[in-house]
Symmetry: C2
Subunit: 228 residues, 2 copies
């Protein structure tokens, strides 16, 4: 469960102040599957980064699982991210010197999971995303959409309570997108993983059950599937 209160994030650009987020009040309940939609530059990535503790708000607060992120020191924040949050970055952020499999195992290693279990789970996750045969390749030896799927695998294999996925289908064709969404739906249903995804992709929006529209750093609408 995620809760933000009057969340703001601004930047100084010379003498200007850019309000990337302004006065965002958001509550996401456990098990929800939510899309953040909105034009380029509207604040989707910034909001995900604040929710995931990767960025500090300029004003207001964020709580994840009842814990106010602003109360945590950086080491406790890192622990919380490690144990509870999976993040798919808009630019993937894979480790270039590790193989696809090692990239996916990496977080489980930090979580103290044994080598054999890590290996089994990582392989299964790559398989589920249609890239099982690419386990030994390094990111530079993969296509854009293959790298994207390694980034997704890495984020979900650690079974986080909360998945934050920034444009997870941007480099995927419709077939790979459908497979990805089916997998996310399955984990959402079976494990109760809460999913918040920033996206431009109508296919992703259609799968989520709630759509939050951003414009110029503000929430302008918040609709449930089935509503108008």
């Amino acid at each position: 469960i995620v809760q933000t209160a009057k969340l703001g994030r601004s930047y100084r650009d010379g003498s200007n102040t850019i309000e990337a987020l302004c006065d965002v009040d958001l509550t996401v309940r456990s098990g929800e599957f939510v899309s953040l939609a909105g034009p380029s530059g509207s604040g989707k990535s910034t909001l995900l980064n604040c929710i995931g503790g990767l960025d500090q708000p300029s004003s207001g607060s964020v709580s994840v699982g009842g814990v106010n992120l602003g109360d945590l020191n950086s080491s406790d924040l890192a622990d919380l991210r490690l144990s509870r949050i999976g993040f798919v970055f808009q630019a993937f952020n894979l480790i270039p010197v590790l193989s696809a499999l090692e990239n996916v195992e990496f977080i489980m290693q930090l979580q103290g999971i044994h080598a054999e279990e890590r290996h089994t789970r990582a392989e299964a996750m790559l398989e589920a995303l249609g890239i099982g045969e690419l386990a030994t390749r390094r990111p530079g030896e993969l296509s854009g959409g293959q790298q994207q799927r390694v980034a997704v695998a890495r984020a979900i294999v650690s079974r986080p309570l909360l998945l934050l996925a920034d444009e997870p289908s941007a480099n995927l064709d419709s077939a790979a997108t459908a497979d990805l969404l089916n997998l996310l739906q399955q984990i959402n249903t079976e494990q109760g993983m809460t999913i918040i995804t920033a996206t431009h992709d109508p296919a992703v929006m259609a799968f989520s059950r709630r759509r939050i529209q951003l414009k110029d750093g503000k929430i302008v609408s918040d609709t449930q599937a089935g509503d108008q």
Copy 2:
């Protein structure tokens, strides 16, 4: 005009050979606007990289403007790219320490164009892509879709004969995509710039007048708009 003959590109992956491209015969005439479509991993980026001289084929040949790229030494190849080809990379590849404006001016500087003209043209191009006010920001201070548009601006501002655009709309919402396509259409019509774009985006495919479908490194169909 682009011509490939029996173009092949393979990689060694341990004891396996991966055929990223196989036996590709392609002719694109001056002024055409072509989409390369196909699933993730089907060879779109590899084909663009071979056409643009960024990657060397394993077999077969590529000619651009009548010049066989395989005949050129690396310095002449670099000159040809600089003077004739614009490239939008799937991962943008912006220079992190330069501003958006400087990134766009960069190629014109290598082409020996004077500072004042560079500045004017770069500003106008950012403006045309809806990011004029972001001129002084560095890539790390921009959203994904804003970085994408800087990458497009950089590729087209040097008025290349041939634009190779790898997934130019992947991180753009529909409004920004429509603006981008209108701009590309305009340059295609007014300047006769040939455009070859790799894409998953139906909006981009709809704008191009010819669609080449790739699957497992091979061309499986080649249709003109207006055909079935």
